[in-house]
């Protein structure tokens, strides 16, 4: 599936969930599906600056294919990471460069995060884009 297609499916799922409680519950459910990040990768270099929660992010590009591993100390943010990993992990880096990640903006989720947390999420998105650009 294309990056756009993956995003459309996620947006449809989240928007069908109704209220904020159900959306957060879904993110917490998704957090449980994020593959564990081994502790050796949880280094200071992997910490994402600007996040209120602790977020570790490891991005690689191998033969033009993105690989994303991530973890967080809060489940709701971990759920966001799980969604981003579903979009990013295994996708073509060039496709990622040409396709903006708009999944949060197209749901109510962006509005539920206060500005500091949104800044942190934007910081994660920027890291993903920068890594894709580096190839």
């Amino acid at each position: 599936m294309t990056i756009a297609g993956r995003q459309d499916a996620i947006v449809e799922t989240i928007n069908s969930l109704g209220d904020g409680f159900e959306q957060y519950s879904y993110l917490i459910f998704r957090a449980g599906q994020l593959p564990p990040m081994t502790s050796e990768y949880k280094t200071d270099e992997a910490l994402v600056a600007g996040c209120q929660s602790i977020v570790w992010l490891r991005l690689n590009v191998v033969d033009g294919i993105m690989n994303m591993q991530a973890d967080s100390d809060t489940l709701i943010i971990k759920g966001i990471l799980a969604i981003l990993a579903e979009i990013v992990d295994g996708c073509d880096a060039n496709e990622l460069i040409s396709t903006p990640i708009t999944v949060l903006e197209r749901t109510d989720l962006a509005a539920t995060f206060e500005s500091e947390r949104l800044t942190g999420i934007r910081s994660i998105l920027k890291s993903i884009r920068d890594r894709a650009n580096e190839g």
């Binding site: 209220d19 904020g20 409680f21 959306q23 957060y24 519950s25 917490i28 459910f29 957090a31 449980g32 209120q52 929660s53 100390d73 809060t74 489940l75 709701i76 539920t112």
Partner: protein, 401 residues
């Protein structure tokens, strides 16, 4: 209790009533407060002091009436002892800055592990910059101050004890009258941080005999940006002004200046006179509702809330102080407080999560962050029942993952 006075309490979020349980951070404002501020803006707004014109004279009169209202509310001897600031943090910083110049290397200042950062860092810095020694009195497992340890720390080198009346995290209420009396036997000045105590305790500075007391307007149903530094007149007179500029001077020459009398020497620049009007109206409102009635009701609500929280086996209430007022914090094993607070918010309940600007206390209690519920008299038992139900739903999601 008087809920109709607070329009925001009828505000729905996502079509549902929103329950506000973050009153230790800021309280909601009764309609009469912005109305009083609006009257000032619309009928006599003019910059205060030294203005010849009518608006300035009226505005000055209203500001000084507000000062006298604050004086009356906290039982100060005279209005000169009431300094308007921007809030508790500003009050303590002003005091610490002024105090710093009086400290000698080897002098000591004592705070406690229970303090909000605002009553810790200014003293830490004052000591660092003056060569004085900063000491921190410990807290017991119960969340109470270790009084025996505190008594041992008080010495002839101690110049000031800075202590909160009520913890903003655990709600632990300190026996401040006893502490002040003990400190005075060693000629130690005492600053009381009353930010969290103003609605829960009957504050009377003369009865307490504290040397300084600070609080914020926005935690007593007033506006933000206004607060109070109370100081005994002789103590304020012994301190240099902490900041300089218009309003606080007497004579200014190119090479030297002399300073105004109290309280103006501590109020450089245009004071927040509109804020002072709002604060005075808020204090008047609290008097109308009844200070004893407010304290009793908030204490009853907190007991009710604590009982509800204790029934959840997954919840660990932080500390078990001898007396808890206003606020209660808890953790859930394996659950990040931010997740809990976000879920509760999505269920229409405002609580606070984080370190509550009291990292030493949380560290002492063995946690990094916690969820805090803090009540005001306008909250109801039904709202706490809804919190209880929301916690059940939150736990089902978080523990059932």
């Amino acid at each position: 209790m008087r809920r109709d006075d607070f329009p925001i309490l009828n505000t729905a979020v996502d079509g549902k009533p929103y329950i506000y349980l973050d009153n230790a951070a800021t309280t909601q404002v009764p309609r009469c407060v912005p109305e009083a501020m609006e009257v000032h803006w619309f009928t006599c707004n003019g910059n205060v002091h030294r203005g010849i014109h009518t608006f300035s004279r009226q505005s000055t009169g209203v500001l000084e009436q507000a000062r006298d209202s604050v004086r009356g509310f906290i039982g100060a001897a005279c209005p000169e002892e009431i300094i308007f600031t921007s809030g508790t943090t500003d009050s303590i910083n002003k005091l610490a800055y002024a105090f710093r110049d009086t400290l000698q290397p080897g002098d000591e200042i004592i705070a406690t592990e229970m303090e909000h950062h605002s009553n810790l860092i200014p003293w830490q810095e004052a000591c660092k910059r003056s060569g004085a020694v900063f000491r921190v009195a410990p807290v017991l497992d119960s969340g109470d101050i270790d009084l025996e340890a505190l008594w041992k720390m008080l010495s002839k080198r101690t110049k000031l004890l800075a202590i909160t009346w009520v913890s903003n995290v655990t709600g632990a209420a300190n026996p401040v009258k006893q502490i002040i009396a003990r400190a005075h036997t060693r000629n130690i000045l005492v600053l009381i941080d009353a930010a969290q105590a103003m609605r829960h305790e009957l504050v009377d500075v003369c009865e307490l005999d504290c040397d300084f007391l600070v609080f914020s307007g926005h935690k007593v149903m007033g506006p933000t940006g206004i607060g109070v530094l109370y100081g005994k007149k002789e103590q304020l007179l012994s301190l240099p002004p902490p900041s300089f500029g218009g309003g606080m001077v007497d004579q200014v020459y190119s090479d030297t200046s002399t300073y105004n009398k109290l309280p103006f020497r501590f109020e450089a620049g245009t004071p927040n006179y509109i804020g002072a009007v709002g604060l005075a109206r808020a204090l008047c409102y609290l008097e109308q509702v009844g200070r004893r009635e407010i304290a009793d009701r908030e204490n009853m609500l907190l007991r009710y809330c604590e009982d509800a929280l204790q029934k959840h086996s997954e919840i660990q209430v932080l500390a078990d102080p001898k007396r808890r007022v206003g606020a209660i914090s808890f953790t859930v094993k394996g659950v990040h407080p931010t997740d809990a607070a976000m879920l509760l918010d999505s269920l229409g309940i405002a609580v606070r999560s984080g370190h509550h600007c009291a990292q030493p206390l949380l560290r002492r209690l063995g946690v990094n962050t916690a969820i805090r519920v803090s009540l005001a008299f306008y909250n109801t038992e039904q709202e706490i029942d809804k919190l209880d139900e929301a916690i059940r739903r939150m736990l089902a999601v978080l523990m059932g993952r």
